[in-house]
């Protein structure tokens, strides 16, 4: 709800236009989009009725990229141009990529940029651009079924994603032309889908375990909810264990039973995995499954797999997930008795043995009645609906914490922690620095993320160069550097010299991210591809922004302009508003942007008064409720 449009407590909000918003689960293997329609959050299907969109993009030199099933099903024919694991690469550097390299068939290009590029027939592409294609496809699906443009989206990210990975995810959304209302962590989204954030626990806190067995990864998160503050107490798992491993266990059994060699041709192997996966799914419903397979030598094999045998095949794999759960509980310093709810995420949690063993470990039946493939997207949709302002009167807040400590490099390759992990967001800290040479006008600050003491053991986020420090003798300058982390967990740095009040210019060199210039040129390229004009789009966006500011100011003035402004102040604002309206018709996006800034500066004092009044009213409302403490009223 815009600041200028804040409704007084108890007063109904102005006539409200429903804003279209969607929740997106951008997954490693599959992605989904969901929306709240009526009062129900549901995932959206494509024209063929399929909800899951494989996170696979196939690029070609002549046609627009192919996204989803079509790309996945033809991957074997064109492996180098079909990118399937962008999420594993996003926000990562070349060194990370080389570490993962064994599993990835792509051809990486060395460039000056910090971001790895993959050579495809459609050009050298970053993981950000690949993910943007998936996001575009999902957004189009949402707009088609909702019948209008999206105001914004909530995108989910793993709880352990660092700043670079979050920033890269947000960049992908920007590139896809989407406005991100919030990045939400996946386990938090799953908890929201089950309404765990709304459980009336009184003053008690709730501790929840989110068990997420995806296609290729297993994640366990222990969350604590205290009055709307979600804290990730511990996150753990196994990045090389997933539902695919259950299929593989069944496939091995078939190989043994059918007496075929392990070195089969790719076609047979693919069929084998499909048969195995189908058997796994059937065994979730029925006591046994029939398997049929055409063998390479022309024979036809068929067999029966009963649940007991299946359970014996997969039990060691499930045991590994439980070991990770116990480790996470220990890290979180909670026991299974402290857990209030266990939520299941990921298609493989449909397997009955998984549910049994999880229930056994935690001593309670897990929550699994929301489709575990869709639960994260559904939670994201509920949050998107709330953030878009479609639930007036709903004052639920989801406060997030920073998952990894943020620090700066000091002498000797050590990291000085600045913002500890689990600090509630948004957060800010400042640190004062001084110059060590006479007349020094620049300095560099290296920001890292992680829990270790050595720079080498933490993840480099960015190097910030401060320029424009007024020249003084060594040690005289007092440069206050402020590190701000917003609600999405993204870092911004600003700096000012304290004795002179001069702000220093901060130039960011992200270690694993794209610079603004790179994003800009990608955006331009993608628009040219779509036959759009960047300048026209900028102008359009600026005008919309300008109109929003104008409307907000008008309605604010109508509501309390008289109460909060004296005649001279009112005249000044009216005059500024008239000037602003004249500029709105300009065809220069830059002019409009400048005018918005100017109007905002003129009205800053008014906005501040309104905010203070709102806060005052909010606290006063609380006092009325707490009338039982008359000694506290002032």
């Amino acid at each position: 709800m815009p600041l200028l449009q804040i409704a007084e407590p108890g007063q109904s909000a102005a006539p409200h236009r429903h804003r279209l918003a969607a929740g997106i689960d951008l997954g490693t293997t599959n992605s989904l989009v969901a929306c709240v329609r009526g009062s129900v959050a549901e995932t959206l299907a494509d024209a063929q009725g399929r909800h899951l969109l494989p996170s696979v993009v196939r690029f070609s030199a002549t046609a627009p990229p192919l996204v989803g099933h079509a790309a996945r099903d033809t991957a074997a024919a064109d492996p180098l141009n079909t990118i399937a694991s962008a999420k594993r690469l996003i926000g990562r550097g070349l060194a990370d990529v080389h570490r993962l390299g064994g599993h990835l068939p792509y051809c990486f290009v060395d460039t000056d940029s910090a971001v790895p590029r993959i050579r495809t027939a459609g050009g050298d592409l970053t993981p950000v651009e690949v993910s943007a294609e998936v996001l575009k496809t999902l957004a189009r699906r949402a707009e088609d079924s909702l019948g209008g443009p999206l105001t914004g989206v909530v995108i989910t990210v793993p709880a352990y994603f660092d700043d670079a990975q979050r920033q890269a995810t947000k960049d992908a959304a920007t590139l896809a032309g989407l406005k991100v209302l919030r990045l939400l962590s996946e386990p938090t989204a799953a908890a929201v889908a089950y309404g765990l954030d709304r459980r009336d626990t009184g003053d008690e806190e709730g501790v929840h375990a989110i068990y997420d067995l995806g296609g290729g990864t297993f994640d366990i998160s222990i969350l604590r909810l205290t009055r709307g503050v979600f804290e990730v107490l511990a996150a753990g798992g196994d990045s090389a264990l997933g539902g695919d491993d259950l299929d593989r266990a069944v496939a091995h059994w078939v190989i043994e039973q059918a007496g075929i060699g392990a070195d089969n041709d790719p076609g047979t192997l693919r069929r084998l995995m499909q048969v195995a996966c189908a058997a796994k799914e059937r065994l979730s419903q029925e006591p046994s499954a029939e398997l049929q397979l055409d063998l390479p030598d022309g024979r036809h094999w068929s067999g029966t797999l009963d649940r007991a045998t299946f359970n014996a095949l997969i039990d060691p794999l499930i045991g590994r997930t439980l070991t990770a759960c116990r480790r996470a509980l220990r890290d979180a310093r909670v026991s299974t008795a402290d857990i209030d709810a266990v939520v299941l995420v990921g298609g493989s949690t449909r397997v009955p043995l998984v549910r049994e063993r999880v229930a056994e470990l935690f001593g309670r039946a897990p929550l699994g009645d929301i489709d575990p493939d869709r639960v994260v997207a559904i939670g994201a949709a509920i949050q998107a609906d709330l953030l878009a302002g479609n639930r007036p009167g709903d004052d639920l807040l989801l406060l997030d914490v920073i998952p990894l400590s943020l620090g700066i490099e000091t002498m000797g390759g050590l990291v000085e922690p600045l913002i500890p992990r689990n600090t509630t967001l948004p957060a800010a800290r400042y640190q004062e620095f001084t110059t060590f040479k006479d007349g020094q006008t620049a300095m560099a600050i290296h920001v890292l993320q992680g829990e270790r003491d050595l720079v080498a053991d933490c993840r480099s986020l960015a190097r910030f160069e401060l320029r424009g420090i007024p020249p003084m003798i060594a040690g005289a300058a007092r440069i206050r550097v402020t590190f701000e982390i917003d609600a999405d967990g993204l870092l911004r740095v600003s700096a000012a010299e304290q004795t002179s009040g001069v702000s220093a210019r901060v130039e960011v060199k992200p270690s694993y991210g794209l610079s603004d210039g790179e994003i800009e040129s990608m955006l331009r390229a993608s628009l040219e591809h779509a036959g759009e004009d960047l300048a026209a789009r900028r102008l359009h966006e600026q005008r919309l922004d300008g109109e929003r500011v104008r409307e907000a100011l008008r309605s604010a003035l109508a509501r309390d302009g008289e109460a909060l402004l004296d005649t001279a102040e009112r005249a000044r604002i009216d005059q500024a508003l008239a000037r602003f309206e004249a500029t709105l018709t300009s065809t220069e996006a830059g002019m409009i942007q400048y005018a918005i800034g100017a109007l905002e500066r003129t009205c800053a004092f008014y906005v501040e008064r309104r905010m203070n009044r709102t806060i005052h009213a909010a606290m006063a409302g609380r006092r009325v409720v707490e009338f039982v403490h008359p000694e506290q009223s002032s």
Partner: protein, 181 residues
């Protein structure tokens, strides 16, 4: 900015002092975050977002400071004397330092003792008991913030700081031991 020239206690409409109604603090926090958090401004104009970010950050910082006894005590010292200055100085209380050294020794020996968990747990319990007593003392001192009382409070804060460091080391050791078994 908000009228955050108000001190943290005024912001939460709480009396200035070390004794604190934790329930009122938590409720005030919710109320203030509900009014300022960036999620409330997800579809607002940019300057409103910036504003909300600053206000919400400030509310978080105020809450974090008041919630934690040591941070609250330092903040009170800064509020009353304009100087929290405790970080670099060490306590001058010989008996206290002796006691702390013993705790440290117990911790060092814990690693080789037959039941390390129990040894660390003993240290943590002792630290917790001492903190309760010191917190009680601070309540009285900050209730009448005379220069002499503030000087005494400063010494108590130094002790708490010392104990806090010891507690964190003990906890780190505890999770290292847990990890081994």
């Amino acid at each position: 900015m908000l009228d955050f020239s108000k001190n943290y206690f005024e912001l939460f409409e709480l009396p200035v002092g070390f004794a604190l109604d934790a329930k009122r603090l938590a409720e005030g926090y919710r109320t203030l975050q509900t009014a300022t958090h960036p999620d409330r401004f997800a579809v607002a104009a940019d300057h409103e977002k910036r504003w909300s970010l600053q206000a919400s950050t400030q509310v978080n910082e105020a809450y974090r400071t008041l919630k934690d006894p040591l941070a609250r005590a330092k903040y009170l010292l800064a509020l009353h004397t304009g100087d929290p200055g405790t970080t670099s100085e060490t306590s001058k209380d010989g008996a206290f330092l002796m006691e702390q050294m013993e705790l440290r020794e117990t911790l060092a020996e814990a690693q080789t003792s037959p039941n390390p968990q129990a040894a660390v747990a003993r240290v943590l319990t002792q630290l917790a008991e001492q903190s309760v007593a010191l917190d009680k003392e601070l309540e009285g001192l900050f209730a009448t913030p005379s220069p002499a009382n503030l000087e005494t409070a400063r010494e108590v804060v130094r002790k708490l700081q010392f104990m806090d460091k010891c507690r964190r080391d003990a906890e780190a050791l505890e999770s290292a031991i847990d990890g081994r078994y």
